[in-house]
């Protein structure tokens, strides 16, 4: 009896063995280190090289590490403020560029996107020089002592929001806006009832980007942080200088989980938004 050969559609990539192998490799290279880090956070060994049994004591240890917790809280605080401010600022820039014509618009657009292309290390040095030159106050009580880092983060993350939101608005049918005005809505009502709902998926994507950019930024933060304002990445870096302990793994795992939860939540909001638009 002849066994019919399985027909592989030209676009059915997953049906090809070599494709599957390639996919598998990509997945391993992307996620194996993360999975390994998470696994070893439960490893009952100081050296973090050989598996010696399951324990959660390093989570406890990380939890009791006041410096680490403080850095963690600092990072989340900066990320939260940055997300809000950068999203509003970025959205306003996007609306300005989408909506209005003004002299030197293309030049402005180019300058606006500079923080995306400027090497981070240069941004960091520039920020350091800037804050010390203008004599930005240090040693203020928490959370004001985070202001320099937060400002630096907003400066480099709002262009990302602007670009994402602008791209979204490029697909907006201007007749929708005119229809709203025609039906008796003021410009303000038109913005909230018609333009904003369309903009929302772009805002969510932009906010997500701003949040993760801020949370894991090391270079620029390193230059703008003082001894009292340590963020999580900077703290981890200083801990790793001695050795990669399961404690660092544990803290990192918590951060990964938090990021995943935030991302999942925002993606859900975005999917709802996309279902609402054509």
């Amino acid at each position: 009896m002849r066994v019919p050969r399985r027909w592989v559609d030209p676009l059915d990539y997953a049906g090809r063995t070599w494709m599957r192998a390639f996919f598998g490799m990509v997945f391993i290279l992307l996620y194996a280190p993360v999975v390994l880090m998470m696994a070893f956070s439960f490893n009952d060994s100081k050296r973090n090289i050989v598996w010696r049994g399951f324990t959660t004591k390093y989570y406890e240890k990380a939890w009791n590490n006041d410096g680490l917790i403080e850095a963690f809280i600092n990072s989340l605080t900066i990320a939260a403020i940055n997300t809000i401010v950068a999203t509003i600022l970025g959205a306003m820039v996007a609306l300005l560029l989408w909506r209005f014509r003004f002299p030197f618009k293309s030049a402005y657009e180019g300058f606006m996107a500079l923080p995306i292309v400027i090497p981070e290390i240069c941004m960091g040095v520039a920020m350091l020089a800037f804050f010390s030159r203008i004599g930005w106050p240090t040693g203020m009580p928490w959370p004001l002592n985070l202001s320099a880092i937060t400002i630096a983060h907003i400066a480099f993350s709002f262009p990302f929001v602007a670009i994402v939101v602008r791209a979204r608005m490029a697909g907006f049918n201007r007749e929708l806006e005119e229809a709203s005005r025609d039906l008796g809505a003021s410009e303000w009502q038109t913005f909230w009832h018609v333009i904003f709902p369309y903009m929302r998926p772009g805002l969510v994507a932009g906010a997500l980007l701003a949040f993760t950019l801020s949370l894991d930024d090391f270079v620029i933060t390193f230059f703008t942080s003082g001894p009292e304002t340590v963020t999580f990445p900077v703290k981890v870096y200083s801990m790793v200088r001695f050795s990669v302990t399961p404690e660092v793994n544990a803290a990192s795992t918590v951060l990964v989980v938090i990021t995943l939860i935030v991302a999942a939540l925002m993606l859900r909001v975005q999917r709802q938004g996309q279902a609402d638009s054509p």
């Binding site: 005005r181 025609d182 008796g184």
Partner: protein
């Protein structure tokens, strides 16, 4: 009294004059069409009525009030957009109720009026749907209901049929005419489709490169166009160039190649080089030489069969080929001639127009 008065309105954009000194009076309850090729300024004119553009010069009166610089949301007009512009994130009912909600109409009344408007366009059963679950024709009905629910004094329609297929278009044309009679408000429709304008409108304004060429009823526009452009734009026309040689009470006498000196009824003053215009369906095609009327001999060069009619092109001894439309009113019409045959074309002098060249 006219509901819309467009007086000496000019609209200039950088480098171009979109509308050039337009004067149009539209009566209440009229179905008015603005017809013209793309880029003739008809959409700019409509947008000035809606308030999205302000005239560079002149004034626009709606119901006696000068609205030339009034914001779009303060005008007693509503518009059906070319893309329908149905809000994608709202349900059909919310779309229709939007114009009432934003102007502070109570929620209960909004809902009731929106439902009534949906009923009027036969979409009452789809109120909870989202626009992406509707067909193009249904979306257009939503746009119509959304505009009509505001009870405007004038409804503006911007190329409303351009996105619909031929069958649906015909159906919507009938429906629009019905709706207009039902709600009894003035409709102003902008279109480049002459059939649409002819079949629906009470009166039509034909525009070309910013200027209003002629405003007339469909019949007058077709039978008595006042310029070569209008004659050529509305339907098909054969133009025969000639020279005016004299005028009398019977009309003007024109000397045309192959026709000789012919006298056609013409009330206006005509002089020098003119064109005689005759519609293809006014021409008879015969094998033998006709006894009366104007006639010309030629050879059939082209025969396009359309079922109900045949469009034939006949080449006279010189000049441009002439178009003839033959009604296939008997089954034997198909045997009447073939490409290459010598035929006679004839028509009546009173079916001929004299147009300036």
């Amino acid at each position: 009294m006219s509901i819309i008065s467009i007086r000496n309105v000019t609209k200039k954009f950088v480098g171009i004059t979109a509308v050039d000194n337009a004067n149009i009076e539209i009566a209440a309850n009229e179905f008015f069409a603005v017809l013209g090729p793309s880029g003739c300024g008809k959409t700019t004119l409509l947008r000035m009525l809606a308030g999205f553009e302000t005239p560079t010069a002149g004034e626009i009166l709606i119901d006696g009030v000068d609205v030339s610089t009034t914001a779009p949301n303060k005008r007693p007009v509503n518009m059906v957009f070319q893309s329908y512009a149905v809000f994608p994130h709202m349900t059909v009912l919310a779309n229709v109720g939007y114009g009432l909600k934003v102007t502070g109409v109570p929620a209960a009344e909004t809902r009731q009026r929106a439902e009534e408007a949906l009923e009027m366009v036969q979409l009452a059963h789809l109120g909870e749907r989202k626009p992406d679950q509707l067909s193009g024709g249904q979306r257009q009905r939503v746009a119509l209901a959304r505009a009509l629910v505001k009870r405007p004094k004038v409804l503006l329609l911007d190329e409303p049929m351009s996105a619909l297929d031929a069958k649906l278009r015909e159906q919507m044309q009938l429906e629009l005419t019905r709706l207009q009679e039902e709600v009894g408000i003035t409709f102003v429709i902008v279109t480049h489709d002459q059939d649409e304008a002819l079949s629906m409108a009470d009166r039509i304004a034909v525009m070309q490169s910013g200027r209003v060429e002629q405003i007339a009823t469909p019949e007058l526009l077709y039978e008595s166009p006042n310029s070569r452009f209008v004659a050529d734009f509305i339907g098909k026309v054969n133009l025969l160039d000639g020279q005016v040689t004299g005028a009398s009470d019977q009309g003007v006498t024109v000397d045309v190649a192959h026709l000789g000196k012919v006298t056609v009824p013409h009330s206006d003053h005509a002089q020098g080089p003119v064109s005689l215009a005759v519609r293809p369906e006014k021409i008879r095609m015969t094998v033998s030489r006709p006894d009366s009327g104007l006639f010309i001999q030629g050879r059939i060069v082209d025969w396009a069969y359309y079922g109900d009619t045949s469009h034939i092109r006949v080449q006279p001894a010189s000049g441009l080929p002439m178009s003839v439309t033959v009604q296939n009113d008997t089954r034997s019409t198909i045997d009447n001639g073939d490409v290459g045959d010598q035929v006679w074309l004839s028509w009546q002098a009173e079916d001929t127009l004299v147009l300036d060249r």
